[in-house]
Amino acid sequence: MNTSTMVTALVENFKANGRIVIVGASLAGLRAAEGLRNEGFSGPLTIIGDEPHEPYDRPPLSKQVLKGWVPADHTKLPRLRAVDAEWRLGVAATGLDRTSKQVRLANGDQVPFDRLLIATGTRARPWFNPAEAALDGVFTLRTCDDAARLQAALAAGPRRVLIIGAGFIGSEIASVCRELDLAVTVAERAEAPLIGALGGVIGTIAAEMQRDHGVDLRTGVSVEALEGDAGGHVRRARLSDGSTLDVDVVLASLGSIRNTEWLEGAGLASGFWGVACDAGCRAFDINGVVTDSIFVAGDIARAPHVLYEYQFLSLEHWDNAVFGAEVAAHNMVSLEPDRRPHLPLPAFWSGQFGVNIKGVGVGPFGDEIVFTQGSVKERRFAAVYGRRGRIVAAVTFNHGKWLEYYGAMIERSAPFPPPPAGFDQPADMQPVPAQFPDPRAPTALPDVVLTGHDPTERGAEFRSRRR
């Protein structure tokens, strides 16, 4: 038997008898399981999830669910094929032992694996004061249980809703509140909504949209304290400008925290920005050495990206979970020459105030912006971001059909500013500063972040927690 025959036999044997464990039972975990079976993996497959629910879709939670149209438990994801897995739902993974190749569960069980996929994603960043966060009427939104509770609170007709943080989630919920004809205040520490992801030029337009729809938008302020009544229900908020608000519902939309705690001590390059992996989804260890048996997908993955100077990119986007899971699944059952890269062009959408906001690329990587099509006044336009004469991102408001055109430009690093599109040109096509905030400023973190070049990057993310 020659070497290549032996290697082929090894792969076939693994596909038939290997044990694969997926930690994380949401979009990335489900699509990876389906991908593994599509790849011909027929060995035992275990899927571990801390939520008791089978995989469901999260984007509808802040939109059609809060609006009251779709019940919170009605966003279950369609199954694209049978996965024949052992589901361990409602029990969190609490540890990883790479030497014995076992995942430890909260109930004490140990689950052995030959290959592991880490897809534990993120959770909502809670309000910083635990006593205030525990008041009735104070919410975050990440899970379907969160959405059910918040939807009920909104349906009860609160006097006023306070939304802390004007990223995408906060802005979408403000939009729903206005559709429900609820009085809503949005408090944002930065100068405009969506500024972390889209910059101040677009943020100014987002601010106008909010105010036109009757949102009491307050920028450049922070919420300093929440006060409850005798029954423990939130009733008042104190702001940094000295004002107070009478509120019955408070939603803290302060971005997310990556679920990496269970990996402490495992010796992987995990931390604030997630788990570092190569473009083929293989996890790096703490020394920056790539592992052979541990893979990463979804919101928690952080991988170098060719389009962005090989900086490690963290992406909390829906299709990053889908495509990352597919690539991870393929690479988990393939050897070197057949492995594929996951090099997504980041893409997102957000519906708010009747406008479909879509984007591609990494806006904060750019420093200039130019409007290329449409009309800002009509809130129907396309704009592109540039850096050093190259296009790095694009955003559209109700102009999504053109996004592919700009996406193709980003993929080939086309010149910035681009030549006029030849259709629907705005009057002013002069590039201006995009006005991204200092990344160190405390504001809602954008959901796509360049996190540097080093897989362990001691500066921000490689930090062992207090024990």
Binding site: A25, I47, P52, H53, E54, P55, D57, P59, P60, K63, Q64, W69, V70, D73, H74, T75, K76, L77, P78, R79, L80, R81, A82, V83, D84, A85, W87, L89, G90, W318, D319, V322, A347, F348, W349, G351, F353, G354, V355, N356, K358, R380, N398, G400, K401
Partner: protein, 72 residues
């Protein structure tokens, strides 16, 4: 039944909307809103809507029975 719409891919053509108006709606000019788990009585309408999508953004459950993981 279960569906999910890839809203990155969706271009807001809205071909699907008149075919399954109780499940797929346009919110504003081009943002699609939909019921991810519509009643089974909508199945034929939803399948037609999914087939009509010019960019094939509507994914429909491919299993008749979802016993797996359905512990909740």
């Amino acid at each position: 039944m279960r569906i999910v719409v890839d809203l990155n891919r969706c271009q807001g053509y809205a071909q699907c909307v008149p075919l399954a108006p109780d499940v797929l709606k346009l919110h504003g000019e081009e943002a699609l809103m939909y019921d991810p788990n519509p009643d089974d009585s909508q199945r034929q309408r939803v399948l037609r809507a999914a087939a009509s999508c010019p960019v094939q953004a509507i994914l429909v459950e491919r299993l008749d029975d979802t016993e797996e993981g359905a512990t909740s």
